[in-house]
Symmetry: C3
C-alpha cells in the first residue's frame, strides 16, 4: 500500500470549546477528527494551580486531532481556532507532517 504526505492539526483546548472547534474543522472540509480527554497545566490550558497531582487526574480539556491533505487547509483550521476560540480561553494549536494510507478518506482538497 502507498503512503501519502498530509498534515495533522492538533488542538488542545478546554472541553467547553469542543463544539466550536469541531465546527471550524468541518467548515474547512475535513472529513473527520479524533478527540481524546486531556489535562495539563500552564499556557496550554486554564490550570494555573501548582498542585501537580490534581492536574494529572483532571481531564477537563480535550486534545483534538484532524488530518487534512493540504498544508493550506491545516493552516486555515489552526489560524481560525486561535482567532475564534482562544481570545478568552487558553489553548494551543500545532501542525505536524504525517503520512497516510487511503487519501480518499480525508478532505478532498
Amino acid at each position: 500500500m502507498k503512503f501519502y504526505k498530509a498534515k495533522k492539526v492538533v488542538i488542545i483546548a478546554e472541553k467547553i470549546l469542543s463544539s466550536k472547534i469541531c465546527e471550524i474543522i468541518e467548515s474547512n472540509g475535513a472529513r473527520g477528527y479524533t478527540v481524546v480527554p486531556a489535562g495539563g497545566k500552564g499556557a496550554h490550558n486554564m490550570h494555573y494551580t501548582s498542585e501537580r497531582a490534581s492536574v494529572v487526574d483532571d481531564f477537563s480539556n480535550v486534545r483534538i486531532e484532524v488530518i487534512v491533505k493540504n498544508k493550506s487547509i491545516a493552516e486555515s483550521i489552526g489560524s481560525q481556532v486561535v482567532e475564534n476560540c482562544f481570545e478568552n480561553y487558553s489553548g494551543i494549536v500545532y501542525l505536524e507532517d504525517v503520512e497516510i494510507l487511503r487519501p480518499d478518506k480525508f478532505n478532498g482538497g
Copy 2:
C-alpha cells in the same frame, strides 16, 4: 544522551478492534504500544451523528501508537491494519517521524 530516528505508527479505530490491532503490532516484532481512549467523528470512526456534544463525550474508540526503528516495519503494520481491520469498520492509520532515546527498548529490526 543520543537521539535516534524512528517511525511512529498511529492507529485510530473502534475499541472492538484493539485486540486484533495489537496482535498485528506484536507479530511485526514491535516491543510495546500505547493505547489512549478516543472519540471523534467522520471517516475516522463510526460516529456519523451530527450531535457534536455526544461525539466529544463518547470515548468508544482507541488511539494506539507504536514506535519502531524501521520504516518498512511501520509501513507493514499500517498496511496490515488497513487490510485486516478496516474493511467493515472505520478507522485511520498514519505514520510520523520521531526521535527516540535508548533504541534497544524498541523493535530489533
Copy 3:
C-alpha cells in the same frame, strides 16, 4: 497567521511518575504541558500480561506532551526524564518536529 518550527517531547510513563516528570518539564522552562490517560504493553510500560483486553481498558499510565521552541531544551527534558525516572520504572520518551502559532505562549529560550 505565521507558523514557527518547534519541538514536541512526548513521555509515556506510569502515572506515579507524573509529578516528577512535570517537575523536570517546569525546571527546563517549559510554560505548559498536556496529560492524557494511557495504557499499553511492553517496554512502554509495566504491563507484561498477555491479556490484551485488560491492557486496552486499563489506563494507569500517562502520555505527557510538551512543546518547546528549542531542540536543546527538548533534548534536555527527554534525557533528564530517562535518567531520573526510568531506572526502576518502564517508559519511553520521543521527540517530534511541530509548527506552532503564537510562539510567545511557549518557553522563552
